[in-house]
Symmetry: none
Subunit: 205 residues, 4 copies
Amino acid sequence: MNRARTSHAKEQRRQALLDAALDEFFEKGYTAARMDDIASRAGVSKGTVYLYFKSKEQVFHGLINSIASPKIQELEVVLHSAGSAKEALQMLFRIMPMIVAHSPMPKLAKVLIGDCNAFPEVVCHYRQQVIDRGIGAITQLLEAGKRSGELQVADADLTARLVIAPMIYAAIWRVVFEIGVEQPLNVEALFELHDSMIIKALSAD
Amino acid sequence: MNRARTSHAKEQRRQALLDAALDEFFEKGYTAARMDDIASRAGVSKGTVYLYFKSKEQVFHGLINSIASPKIQELEVVLHSAGSAKEALQMLFRIMPMIVAHSPMPKLAKVLIGDCNAFPEVVCHYRQQVIDRGIGAITQLLEAGKRSGELQVADADLTARLVIAPMIYAAIWRVVFEIGVEQPLNVEALFELHDSMIIKALSAD
Amino acid sequence: MNRARTSHAKEQRRQALLDAALDEFFEKGYTAARMDDIASRAGVSKGTVYLYFKSKEQVFHGLINSIASPKIQELEVVLHSAGSAKEALQMLFRIMPMIVAHSPMPKLAKVLIGDCNAFPEVVCHYRQQVIDRGIGAITQLLEAGKRSGELQVADADLTARLVIAPMIYAAIWRVVFEIGVEQPLNVEALFELHDSMIIKALSAD
Amino acid sequence: MNRARTSHAKEQRRQALLDAALDEFFEKGYTAARMDDIASRAGVSKGTVYLYFKSKEQVFHGLINSIASPKIQELEVVLHSAGSAKEALQMLFRIMPMIVAHSPMPKLAKVLIGDCNAFPEVVCHYRQQVIDRGIGAITQLLEAGKRSGELQVADADLTARLVIAPMIYAAIWRVVFEIGVEQPLNVEALFELHDSMIIKALSAD
DNA sequence: AATGAATGAGCGTTCATTCAT
DNA sequence: TATGAATGAACGCTCATTCAT
């Protein structure tokens, strides 16, 4: 492979390595993934990986950090831009299938679940920076809906969890059960249904 | 360790090894789990494991088989014993928190998710014998409720998935985010809420 | 297996173990042969072998000792019973194919060759008690024939070696190259030819 | 150990490993030989062996292939270059002691004999490519001598075997009985004697 | 005397990491 | 910066040996 001289080229190569790492970690899990395979998937040789990451563990940390944070900020912005709570929920239910079907989130989730015990700090950090903030944003919108009388919400935090549960379910389903399967889960329809059921369940009588 | 001479004692030891294996696989993942550690967790020496299982892979298969199938049969029986669809759902929502909090299912799920790519046949078999049957049973009860006019169900299969989604969510949550955390998720309350929201969402207007 | 109470029964079982050991050592070599397999081939359990032999090494030694010595004494007797040197040689050439085709010698030779470096004392002992005595006996008969003018012998020791060389060749051939081969070496014919050629080569002009 | 960078240096290192392997297999047998010992005898570490050979078995195959074939072609050429059958035989009897005393053949033969049952395909291949061709070449020269009236040959194939038998004998003798022995077999004299006896035995009356 | 469950040292093999070029 | 040969710790698995019954 020709050399990455500029800092831009280096950043690109670093990203290529992270992409390769995600795929390898996803397919094999952290322990079974081989540095060699990450390297060749990124089109470089084994030693090169160590120019960009100090160790396999650092590749993992780099991977988590590169994916985690940005998405949540987007989410927070989107939810705050909605006029009403129901509108915000509907935006959410339109975003969710996109995340499940067209983002690296399911792969990352699989990796995190599989290797969570090997990286408790990562899990902790991830929970605080991603999960808690995500659930927090939804909790807030539910409480706003409750205050405005728009929604009937008994426990906003638990309700937020029920709101995102199908996303977790669908993400897991995709990465675990849809490897080489002909009939994939209809994610769009699932979230449309979820939308209508949640709206009905939270509507004032 | 004293010897297992009767076939009963041997079966007990086999089970002790499977228990140890579940914990090790759960904590480290299949690849990172060491046969040595499984052995000492079960209180025997390395070589002894191989008296009960031909290989690490066979330990894994033994583990999956020992946990998977029986539970689902129970579920099917329970659901069919209910008088009405709503009653059946309520039984389901009382069972779910038990499964999440007091069965090996969450640990097993974590293992399966983490190592699904290493054992596609296991995943396939598990899906057919456990997942599809579980979702199938719920789908049937929803359709029965629909036929009797008790429930409003647009798509029974997708609805069944939304019914179980919080169980997947809660199971994952427990094993991933509640390692050494002081404030655990209130699973009971979550499923009570899920119960009331699902019932409301499926009720005739 | 029922117990061997009398010392005769014990001796029989010991012999059964040695027979099994010869076959196992022959088929796998000393290192690759498993005590377990020797035991089951003899129809007893693993632990029983250790009632008759202190260790795997002792099984090997027991095996060598049980086969080696007696045969050579027979040979010495036979050769001394002959009227003339040529007669003695002819007896020898009739015995040789029997040894090659119908005695455990080829198997034993294969084992000894394969594991000679692991058991230098055994090899040394075997050479002194079997090989040197065998070659010595033939050397003596050749020298007797030379003294009587019956044979032309330049170097009796080397000639003795040329006399037995085809037996070594045939023994090796059988155990190495005739495993599952349809057309075996015609040992009888080989030694008839050897007989005639040696006689002609050693005859006075 | 410094690195083998050029393909020439790598070929050299591969050869060094094969040399080490021959010695280890010869001394301990295939099963008892340790990859570690092969490595250190070649001056490299354990892992390095696996850069050159996929497995212990492949080391064995590599060893057989590296030694077997070339020698026989030489032999065929040499025998065909002789003016007469007797001349050819004499050349053969001058080559034989060289092979026994100064080639790896005796060591290789010992290894092959000791582990023939573990590698039946190797034995089969070796027999066809080396043994049968070697015996075939000698058979042909004997038949040529017979046709020209130079030699009296009853059965060319069996005679060829008697011609080479002392080489097998001497090779075995060397590797089995001359480990740490002061008085080695006089191989030169043995083959001189064999020469004269064979010539006499095959001469027309 | 016989069994076979248990042990643990030992070996083949893998792979993260290093480093000379 | 990039390479890939070399290393050696680590792990799955085997099997000679022990010992309680």
